[in-house]
Symmetry: C2
């Protein structure tokens, strides 16, 4: 198939790399550096300067832009989408994107909303790496207007990319669980790093636990504020739940309540152990 | 040298493995299973059933017990330590241990208080692995009563074990920074896991960020309450600092303050990037 990537950043580049052996991949991007790099490295076979031609000539189009840019892109090119092609959206927030696009969309736009749950603290096509999709999770949030063959095609391409669990959720379910598994996780990592309060050279006193927890605090500040704010209700709920859990630790530590601390630890061990299935790096 | 390990768990076993090629390692433990396993796997050359003999025959003794057990062990065997040998204590909290032991200690006990900052969510000698010490951090909290040659010997053995940065801190400095880098890190990971609030099968919706942040939530509930409570003042301070950081995110998200979110992210990226030196797994 002819597959076009809009936005040749880390995720767009990774999709290109993951599909390029079986398909003809092209791309459209405002950065000619990214396009030229991808051509030179044979990540894509063709770059487009005309968006109309790009949208007309591809069978499947992955929109790999930041959430608000997805909406701007769809709005700007609404008349250029072809009803013979399938558009796949891959950002990390769903209700906001779907609401905005479904309000304006015309019958020539066939779009499936999805979220490949994989990424990196690094940015750009230069750091794209097809390995990050291996055995990762992928979520599709189908609408009633989506045809079965569209969903099947998205699933089939996700499998080609290496994803292991491909699930369908409602947009609300997606945003709720991603606020927890992804966005809250990032808020905690950033908060840990930002709360450093010593004049000592911290790196001499950290272990693997701190290293692993804070790697994602090197974060793309152009993308993540968008994700946090477009999913604000769910994320604020999750932060409140963390505050409740932190208070349990504080209260127990204050009164030397060993028993409650043990119970909290047995709980976390049990919950986390139940998530291990499918983790290739867990024993 | 003849090196004896008291408490042949994950850390005791790892010290034995890391030193066994150059020294004669023996051990004392209440678990005969652990001792027999270590003998069979050639991790140690000798097990002791008499603690007096064990303390008399070794040149260096590593006490690898949980914090409160360290104190019980020293109290119970106070008359059996030999002034010709060196005792090295390796638990994750220093002021509490030092205060308790220095109050009772006799002139026959030469002890250096240290903290190898390495571990695993797994427990027992069966999971010991000398690789966890490679390029890790080690802290020594020397007292005025420690002789220079004692400290030099501890440093030399830590280098043999594979540690990269070997620093000296005051006990208060140690407890303050470890409350942040280690204990707070664990509180956050546990709180994240315990705050899960969905009926969906979470493991299908997690990425590497959640996996890496929560691996340590599989935690030894017999060890960590001790560490939290014996360092309560410093840890409670750090939890309060995290609450302040979380509030910054909440406040900014509530009012769609993209600029503040960007600033918080640039801050975390800068701080964390400055810690990368010496991490073999960072690029």
């Amino acid at each position: 198939m002819k597959i076009g990537i809009v936005g040749l950043g880390l995720i767009g580049g990774t999709i290109a790399k993951a599909l390029k052996d079986n398909h003809i991949i092209s791309a459209y991007d405002i950065s000619s550096d990214a396009l030229d790099y991808a051509l030179e490295k044979s990540i894509i076979r063709k770059k487009y300067e005309s968006i109309d031609k790009f949208l007309a000539e591809n069978d499947v189009i992955y929109i790999c832009l930041y959430p608000k840019a997805v909406i701007d892109f769809v709005k700007s090119n609404l008349n250029s989408f072809k009803s013979s092609s399938l558009v796949v959206e891959v950002s990390g927030v769903k209700q906001y994107i779907i609401k905005e696009i479904e309000n304006i969309k015309a019958s020539n736009l066939n779009i499936v909303y999805t979220h490949p749950i994989a990424g990196s603290e690094k940015i750009g096509v230069y750091n794209s790496d097809a390995n990050i999709f291996n055995n990762a999770n992928y979520v599709i949030t189908p609408l009633e207007t989506n045809k079965k063959e569209e969903i099947d095609l998205v699933i089939s391409l996700a499998k080609e990319m290496g994803f292991l669990n491909i699930s369908t959720l409602t947009p609300k379910e997606h945003d709720d669980i991603i606020a927890y598994t992804s966005q809250l996780t990032h808020v905690l990592s950033l908060s840990l790093v930002n709360s450093v309060s010593t004049t000592l050279d911290t790196k001499k006193f950290i272990g693997d636990s701190y290293r692993n927890l804070t790697r994602i605090s090197k974060i793309n500040e152009k993308l993540w504020p968008d994700l946090f704010i477009t999913n604000k209700k769910a994320l604020l709920d999750k932060i409140s739940l963390i505050e409740v859990e932190l208070k349990k630790f504080k209260d127990a530590i204050k009164v030397n309540d060993m028993h409650t601390l043990e119970e909290l630890m047995i709980k976390s061990t049990t919950i986390r152990s139940n998530m291990d299935g499918g983790d290739s790096d867990e024993s």
